[in-house]
């Protein structure tokens, strides 16, 4: 208790009273992210600058406490939960654009800046930030970087790592270092992106901005069979057409979304495909006729384009709000996140349906079809222990089938706390040891977001070579 009081005092000394929270009711919020709870922090701090982050890390180190960085807490794998207690550093108050270099299409931003706010603020310069997780209205650039977030548009723009030019990072000792993809030497920027807060705390980032496309068109196509829809997706890509997004929804999702948002999706179809093409007029026009032909060949009921910007926005709002809309079906949902080679989509979807049927769980599929990235939403009621157990079993079965199909255990949400033990299913001890070597350099004492990514228990010692 006395130690805690001293810790609190030191933190307040560094950040002021308004930057430190230690009241139990304040702390309980930080035990959760969008996945689940996973431990309670001793304190939560809200620094305003890199120096303040560094000061907090130094204090934590003195007290032997672990550190967990937190953006908006929208992570779906328990990445931001303080699994081993310690201090949570919230980036909430670090949300400025520090520099905007529109001519060279780049900006330096603080980690707490909300993804969509960045695009909004550079829109006047004809620019935007391409990574667009469905959580983009609330998730932070720091969180996006730490998870290497994807989104519907990463089919053509790539994931967050493709849009980060350099980082400013506070390491486990409190020291500040910078990386740039144009530096000679190892590409530390790429190594840090996606490291889920286990290698350092990002305190600012140079990001790449893209010029807004001159033409954007969005279509919906409806199919009577999910399988035919998946095959159409593969055929579009195999034909050499790269739309900016190829998103799929099954009837469970479409029904929920239409009831919630009236997004304009056709109801009664087994699968709805949302296609966006953006770029130059010439390319978009060519893409439309090619896609129409392929979709028809695969037995689509119809294909319809959004006629106005408002219709387009409505179609996207439906897609991005899909998970929330399932609240009409069950009080809780669990999102699985696996990725398979695109041509294996139909098989993977059959496996999802089989697993859900076996455990009597309602499943809705809304996913990044163009990337083979599945997101089965398993619906349940958290208060019912039988249902909770069934969701866990279904989720595991889906994971297993993705691995069997040559896929991976996370396409975009990350490993965090949730999937760390599944890491041994896709990687050998030698593979994990290579990752452990990187951790050894940046966080030898395992104080940055401990209990994440690396498998728990006995295997841990094998994972990190002596």
């Amino acid at each position: 208790m006395k130690r805690l009081g001293m810790l609190r005092e030191r933190l307040i000394g560094a950040l002021g009273t308004d930057g430190v929270k230690t009241e139990p009711e304040d702390l309980s919020v930080y035990a959760f992210d969008a996945y689940t709870d996973g431990g309670r922090p001793l304190a939560v701090v809200l620094p305003r600058s890199t120096n303040e982050v560094s000061a907090v890390v130094k204090i934590a180190r003195e007290f032997g406490e672990p550190i967990v960085a937190r953006g908006a807490g929208t992570g779906l794998c328990g990445g931001a939960v303080p699994a081993a207690g310690g201090i949570v550093i919230s980036t909430m108050r670090m949300n400025r654009i520090l520099e905007l270099d529109a001519a060279n299409r780049r900006a330096r931003v603080e980690p707490g800046l909300i993804n969509l706010d960045l695009s909004r603020r550079v829109a006047a310069d004809g620019l935007f930030f391409a990574p667009d997780p469905s959580s983009q209205q609330i998730s932070t650039i720091g969180g996006n970087i730490a998870t290497n977030a994807g989104g519907p548009h990463c089919l053509s723009y790539g994931t967050t790592v493709n849009h980060v030019l350099g980082l400013e990072v506070v390491d486990e000792t409190g020291e500040v270092f910078t990386t740039s993809i144009d530096d000679s030497g190892y590409d530390l920027t790429a190594a840090l992106v996606g490291s889920e807060g286990t290698l350092g705390i990002v305190t600012s980032a140079w990001v790449r901005l893209l010029a807004q496309p001159e033409a954007v068109r969005v279509w919906v196509a409806a199919f009577d069979q999910m399988e035919a829809a998946s095959e159409a997706v593969s055929a579009i890509v195999a034909a050499g057409i790269v739309p900016t997004a190829l998103e799929m929804m099954d009837s469970v999702i479409v029904t929920a979304v239409e009831a919630a948002f009236h997004a304009g999706y056709p109801t009664g179809a087994a699968a709805v495909l949302l296609v966006e093409s953006a770029g130059f007029e010439e390319d978009v026009a060519a893409a439309e006729s090619a896609i129409r032909a392929i979709v028809n060949q695969h037995g689509a009921r119809y294909m319809r384009g959004a006629r106005t910007a408002a219709e387009r926005a409505a179609l996207w709002a439906g897609r991005k709000g899909a998970a929330g809309a399932t609240g009409r079906i069950a009080p809780n949902y669990y999102t699985q996140d696996v990725c398979v080679p695109r041509s294996k989509l139909p098989t993977a979807l059959r496996a999802v349906a089989a697993a859900a049927a076996e455990h009597a769980i309602t499943v809705g599929n809304v996913f990044h079809a163009g990337d083979g990235n599945l997101h089965p939403l398993l619906m349940y009621d958290r208060r019912d222990r039988r249902q909770v157990a069934a969701v866990v079993l279904t989720g595991n079965a889906i994971l297993e089938s993705a691995i069997e199909l040559g896929g991976t255990i996370s396409g975009e949400h990350g490993i965090g706390w949730e999937k760390r033990d599944a890491m041994t299913r896709v990687y050998t001890t030698a593979d994990l040891a290579a990752m452990g070597r990187v951790r050894d350099v940046f966080d030898p004492r395992r104080r940055l977001n401990p209990e994440k990514i690396f498998p728990s228990g006995a295997r841990c010692s094998e994972v990190t070579p002596p």
Binding site: A238, R342, I415
Partner: protein, 407 residues
């Protein structure tokens, strides 16, 4: 850097692993080479080493053409991969010089940034999986054959650009992209007074070219014409309709910038582009040194003129390629006669680094090469890089001393 004995060229990953493990245990050193197109880059190894070649470690491991993915062994040449992919209407934006020799492993290990990255992104962004033999001889795999994967650290990307100092890449899995149907190249004289305006015009084009250069010198190798004036060279690719529009836009933009007349041709456009890239590492034997400077597009024209002037003060002949879209400046200085100018190359090297601290030496066979500041100013995080090297290769078995900061 080259050793006198013929290189050892294992045909399997296991055999390669055994050689590496043995060397590591016995205190031996290994220098690793693919096509050797970049042997003029980097510091000399700190100890004599066994030359290990990947040239026999070839072949396609998986070719999922419908999924737009491919996995190859690291010793395969870029040309080999490109020809295969072209047959499927796909490509990977490898921009390396001498693709008939350069290997996939060497290209990834070099981690260079191609002129087409403005349009297509970096090579590293196409690497979805890898296998690497570490210094202890173990094989570590990362990623796989899926295009999105965030299971753990992105190890593959860390190996890109590590110059063989963290491990030996033995397999690379890539995502591919559909090849653009048509290509066209523009060549025009570029008088000095029009340069800045021409650059600004190129940067502002609505339909971005795939590559755009200002080239001074190298003419014979590029278009067979050895006029003294600089050239602007612009590569466009895409659908026919898009090229028509891009061509109109480009003509009028360059015209407004005062660029006199333009030569346009479709046949051989990609070959012309390749000749410019090949010129980057073209070597004039012992009497030349080539530097590369990373810059921003808005600054590159001026910085190129500054280093040209500097070289002229040293009475050196210069040839320059400026990548207008990405900002890179490549300068080849020649006339460094080794007998009379032995010392001068070093003072020129000092002077260029005073002006451009980050300048890297990318090609040089000069006997004084060992005294040059091959990697330019050490990066801010060099100590962390050293620590990574120590953790991955504690006995300094792989390419010891060659990389940044003597890593």
């Amino acid at each position: 850097m080259r050793t006198a004995t013929a290189p050892v060229a294992p045909e399997t990953i296991d055999a390669l692993g055994t050689i590496v493990a043995q060397a590591d245990r016995g205190g031996g050193k290994i220098s690793i080479a693919g096509g050797n197109t970049l042997s003029g880059m980097g510091l000399p190894l700190e100890a004599p080493a066994l030359a290990l070649s990947t040239l026999r470690l070839t072949g396609v491991v998986a070719n999922e053409s419908a999924d737009l993915t491919i996995a190859v062994r690291a010793g395969m040449t870029l040309q080999g991969v490109n020809v295969l992919l072209a047959g499927q209407g796909q490509f990977i934006p490898f921009d390396a010089p001498a693709p008939q020799y350069a290997t996939v492993g060497g290209t990834l290990a070099a981690g260079w940034l191609g002129p087409r990255r403005h349009r297509y992104g970096r090579l590293r962004d196409y690497l979805i999986g890898s296998a690497i033999v570490l210094a202890d001889g173990s094989v570590a795999r990362a990623g796989g054959m899926v295009v999105k994967n965030v299971a753990g650290y992105d190890m593959s990307r860390l190996y890109v650009g590590s110059f063989g100092t963290l491990g030996i890449l033995v397999q690379a899995n890539f995502k591919t992209i559909p090849a653009p149907g048509h290509a066209r190249i523009f060549l025009a004289p570029l008088p000095e007074r029009t340069r800045e305006r021409a650059f600004a015009a190129l940067a502002a084009l609505p339909v971005a070219p795939s590559a755009a250069f200002w080239v001074d010198g190298f003419h014979n190798s590029i278009d067979g014409d050895d006029g003294n004036e600089g050239r602007v060279a612009v590569l466009l690719d895409g659908s026919e309709a898009l090229l028509e529009r891009a061509t109109r836009d480009l003509r009028s933009a360059l015209g407004r910038a005062g660029v006199p007349e333009t030569r346009v041709f479709d046949t051989g456009a990609r070959e012309s582009f390749q000749r410019i890239v090949d010129a980057y590492v073209a070597n004039l034997g012992e009497r030349s040194v080539t530097y590369r400077i990373a810059s921003f597009p808005t600054e590159s024209a001026e910085r190129a003129l500054n280093i040209q002037q500097l070289a002229r003060r040293y009475d050196l002949r210069t040839e320059t390629i400026v990548d207008a879209l990405n900002g890179d400046v490549v300068l080849r200085a020649s006339g460094l006669d080794s007998r009379t100018l032995g010392g001068k190359i070093e003072s020129f090297d000092d002077a260029i680094h005073e002006l451009e601290p980050g300048a890297q030496v990318i090609a040089c066979e000069h006997p004084h090469r060992v005294h040059l500041n091959a990697w330019g100013e050490a990066p801010a995080a060099v100590e962390r890089m050293r620590a990574l090297k120590a953790r991955f290769d504690p006995n300094r078995t792989l390419n010891p001393g060659r990389f940044v900061g003597g890593i």
